[in-house]
Symmetry: C2
Subunit: 212 residues, 2 copies
C-alpha cells in the first residue's frame, strides 16, 4: 500500500522556492520515517536508523519533534493523509464504474508493493499489529484512520450498489469494514510471501462477494 510517492515530499501546488529549509528537513524526516515504518513497523526501528537514512543530525530531529512517540503520531497522520488521497484518486474517478474503481485501486496498490519487492506494506496496518507495545495514544489515532478509509470505500460501494454492481442486500458499511480488515491481512501475507498472489486471491474473491 506504499508507493514511491511516499518518499517524495509533496510539492503539489507549492513550488520549492516558497519553502524554507525548515519544511524541507522536516519533510525529509517524515517521508523517510514513513518509508522505513511501512517496511519495519515502529518498535523495531531506532531513531538512529531513520536519521541515517534521512541524513539529518539528531539535534535537528529534536528541533522538530519532542520524542520518537510524537514523531510516530506525525507519521501516522502523514501516511493517513497521503493514503486517503490515493483512495480518492481511485474511488472518485468517474471515468470508471464504481467496482472498476475498486479494482483499479487494488491493482495500483499491488503495483506499489511490487515496486518495493513486497518489502513495504501499510504503515497503519503495521502499527495496528504492534499496538500491544505501542503508546496508547496511537490506538485512537489508528482507529480513526481506518474509519476514515472505510467511509471512503463505503461511498464507492454505495455508488456501485446504485449502479447495480453490488446486490441490494449488502450493507455497504459492513462491506467496507470487511474490505479494509481483510485487505490488511492480504498486505501482510504478500509481504510474507514476497509476491502478489495473496492480493490477487483476495481481489478475485472479494469482487465475487460484491457481485454475488
Amino acid at each position: 500500500m506504499d508507493t514511491s510517492d511516499a518518499l517524495i515530499p509533496r510539492r503539489r501546488g507549492r513550488p520549492r522556492r516558497d519553502r524554507g529549509p525548515y519544511e524541507d528537513t522536516r519533510n525529509t524526516l517524515v517521508w523517510t520515517g514513513v518509508a522505513i515504518l511501512t517496511e519495519k513497523g515502529f518498535s523495531a526501528v531506532g531513531l538512529d536508523e531513520i536519521l541515517r537514512a534521512a541524513r539529518v543530525p539528531k539535534g535537528s530531529f529534536y528541533h522538530y519533534f519532542d520524542s520518537k512517540d510524537e514523531f510516530g503520531a506525525v507519521l501516522i497522520d502523514a501516511y493517513a493523509d497521503y493514503f486517503s488521497r490515493i483512495l480518492d484518486q481511485h474511488f472518485l474517478d468517474e471515468a470508471h464504474s464504481p467496482l472498476q474503481r475498486l479494482d483499479n485501486f487494488m491493482e495500483y496498490a499491488k503495483a506499489g508493493m511490487a515496486r518495493f519487492e513486497f518489502r513495504r506494506g501499510c504503515l497503519v496496518g503495521n502499527l495496528g499489529q504492534e499496538m500491544g507495545v505501542l503508546p496508547e495514544r496511537f490506538r485512537d489515532q489508528i482507529r480513526r484512520v481506518f474509519l476514515d478509509w472505510q467511509a471512503r470505500a463505503a461511498r464507492c460501494f454505495l455508488a456501485a450498489q446504485e449502479a447495480g454492481e453490488i446486490r441490494r442486500e449488502h450493507d455497504c458499511r459492513h462491506l467496507a469494514e470487511f474490505f479494509f480488515t481483510s485487505w490488511e491481512g492480504a498486505v501482510l501475507r504478500a509481504k510474507l510471501e514476497r509476491n502478489s498472489a495473496p492480493l490477487e486471491t483476495f481481489a478475485k474473491i472479494f469482487l465475487l462477494v460484491l457481485r454475488s
Copy 2:
C-alpha cells in the same frame, strides 16, 4: 486466536510424574514465550521479559536454547502445532455440519481473544507482520504454517461443498487462502479495537460468501 490452554504445558496422556524437571522448565519457557509473543510479537520483546515472567534464570535458558532466534523458531512450531489441534478439534467435529464447524471455530477463537481482553492475537500473524525485521529463516517456517492451516480449512470447505453448503463454483483452496489471509486481518483489528466486532463482521460476511 490464543486461548488459556496456551499457557499450560500440554499434559494430555502424559502424567506429570513421567516428566523430569528438564521438560517442565523448557515447557514453561515455551508457553510463557508463546503467551507473550501473541500479545507483543517478537522484536519488541526482550528475553529478560520472558525469563522474568517464566521465573527461569538466564543460565537455564541457554541450557535449552542457543539463542533468541532459535527460541523463536521453537515457539512458532509449538504455536503452529497447538493451533492445528484447535483447528482439527473444530473442522473434524462430525457432530456438526462443515460450515457449522467453521462457525464454531470462529466463535471459539473469539471467546479465546475475549478471555484476554483482546490483547492477544495470533503468534504467526504477529511474526508474519514483523518479517521485515526478523531472521530470514522464519519466513519459510511461517509460510508453511499458513499452508498447513489452509489445507485443514480447505478439507472442511470441500466437505461443506459436498454437503451442498458451499456453491460448486467456489475453489475451496482459494477460499481457504482467502479465509486465513483475511482472518489474520480481523484478528489484528480486534486487537486494535479491543473488542469482537471485527471478528463478527468478518464471520458474517465470510459465511455469506460461502453460501452465495
